[in-house]
Symmetry: C2
Subunit: 363 residues, 2 copies
């Protein structure tokens, strides 16, 4: 699943083997395949010039599982880091059916009309390429996919959340170095992926629908408290009043929540992704948020905390993998867990025994 | 801070050194100190007979940092485990000023009047004994402290949350083996301790006050979504209408939350801890909850998940301690973190370097 040749995105395009097996994709050169092998410096130069083809190839390296690709990717990222950071990163979530794709298409076209450059990424660790991941094909964002100032990239292939998150965060670095000033990271409103997205964006946007509350049953508990803004979609036609009522209910509910660390009070707005109404107000809100948090210092504080968070998350994930993949540990784990469930030993004695086993068998 | 001699609870009581330095406390024997040294079997026998003095001493062993005490404590716990589990465990939280002590006193007296036996424990990892921890002295629960069917124990001394949580969970086991059928675990509405308490109880009760929302600013985000019941205190006199309005607002807000895994819809009730009104209804709610979740299987499911959670939490905490206390790691950590914050290396490269350093220096 790590081979980009399988990616929906590349269907119908000529894919060649470039440097060290990295596919070189150039839709304009179907007849005479180019076999250019880029050095890390050439990659970085291309990215800094905003060359989308080279950016795409670098992202492919980031997503690759091969050690030689990873090596090359890390060299590129390290050189891009000083040029990164100059975008507003926006997380977008909502249950299936809330109209995320249409909304992102509409938001994106609005931003491009304002002269911005937009990268649209996604995190969906549960997806399998063969079944079609979210953002797996560009047809979901018809208008945006044709824009040269938009870069759309599907979620990295299924894997651990930590691994997928790493790839997306590194892709953000590359996109920012390439001059994209707005980055969307889309996720679905289930599982652990929202926490991951929330931990890599400046503003977290929750798309909701009007209704009696039943629509909310699909969304994970805790997400509402993460949102910096809640936007109610399908505020059009017969649904307009219902959407306004929902907005008012959400506002009352948010009033009961404690103030966020940012000092920002989440706003609730209504809009129509399909009829493209209420879009300007959403961007006014996000601009106000960034101005507000830049002024009170929270914007940079949050980014620093996020960098530290991912460093420690990554350490802790590697530690856990080292432990649970240890053959001696793996062989005893289920038996020990069952002893705990049978009340034969306490959770803590179980943990102590497993740790002793690990330390005896670490090398 | 690990020596129970420093504990407020023991002030004015004669404290002697018993088995292996374990203090033997007997308030009725101030003149002729008893020097009985219990074997693990004698401890267990005493606990199963409901002997409060022996239970207290066993809890002191659980809380002790000395290896020989820990060894003895684990033998006692292992023998008590088959007799534990027969209580309803209730987590109680709320911001300072919400009236937790008065409420627990009132709830406890009500339950004892109903023929129940109540253990009141607490988790407050931030507390320092010298400054007086929550539940640090029994005077906060005047009535309850005089009841023979109530066992009140302050929070274990300050330490890591994992360590404090372990001690409290093991104390629950001992109390249940001693015949206590209801266990309260109190915590304050700040920090990480609510998650720990939520992960060791059957029912999580949030005490709130009526008001405009300002009172909520002290409570941690996410706690409202953990609650199985929200109770509004000080619903008395002039405050009655305000409390009823607050209850109605909380009900509307909860309506916007997705349904909990238990299938239970959290209830919102009003009461007065001081005037002892509305107490019966709170216990009717908790009894309904336990009947409902026992019937749909969630009660046992949650307990099993909690046992597993603490086993894995304990493993992960030990892993993290092993890593961060490694001298080579500790020496490089801040420098590496700073490189990340300066955008010199990515979070993931930093993590990778630190892990390599750790694995080279593990023994």
């Amino acid at each position: 699943m790590e081979h980009p040749e399988n990616d929906e995105l590349y269907k119908g395009l000529k894919v060649n083997k470039g440097v060290a097996g990295v596919p070189v994709i150039n839709p304009y050169l179907k007849k005479r395949p180019q076999r250019k092998e880029y050095t890390p410096s050439e990659f970085v130069e291309g990215i800094l010039q905003g060359n989308i083809t080279i950016l795409s190839q670098a992202v492919t390296l980031v997503e690759s599982a091969r050690p030689e690709h990873q090596q090359l990717a890390q060299e590129i990222i390290e050189k891009c880091l000083p040029h990164a950071g100059n975008s507003v990163r926006i997380g977008i979530t909502g249950v299936p059916g809330a109209g995320k794709s249409t909304s992102i298409d509409t938001f994106g076209m609005y931003l491009i009309g304002e002269g911005r450059k937009l990268a649209v990424l996604a995190i969906d660790p549960s997806s399998e390429r063969s079944k079609g991941s979210i953002l797996g094909d560009k047809t979901r964002m018809e208008e945006l996919a044709r824009e040269k100032n938009a870069f759309i990239r599907p979620s990295p292939a299924a894997g651990s959340l930590g691994g997928v998150a790493r790839k997306t965060r590194e892709t953000i670095v590359l996109c920012e170095a390439a001059g994209f000033d707005t980055v969307f990271v889309e996720t679905v409103g289930v599982g652990q992926s929202e926490t991951a997205v929330h931990s890599m964006v400046d503003f977290f946007l929750l798309i909701q629908l009007a209704g009696t509350g039943d629509e909310l049953q699909g969304i994970k508990r805790g997400i509402m408290e993460m949102a910096d803004g809640i936007i109610i979609n399908k505020a059009d036609g017969d649904n307009l009043e219902k959407a306004r009522l929902a907005a008012s209910q959400f506002r009352s509910a948010l009033h009961l929540f404690p103030l966020a660390d940012s000092g920002w009070v989440p706003q609730v707005l209504t809009y129509s992704g399909y009829y493209k109404s209420g879009i300007r107000e959403i961007w006014k809100m996000i601009d106000e948020y960034t101005a507000f948090t830049r002024q009170n210092g929270y914007f940079d504080h949050r980014r620093n905390e996020q960098s530290k968070y991912w460093m420690y998350e990554s350490i802790n994930e590697t530690l856990r993998n080292t432990f649970y993949n240890n053959p001696a540990v793996a062989a005893m784990l289920k038996t020990t867990e069952q002893q705990v469930l049978n009340n034969e030993i306490s959770s803590f004695v179980a943990a102590k025994r497993m740790m002793e086993l690990f330390l005896e068998n670490i090398h």
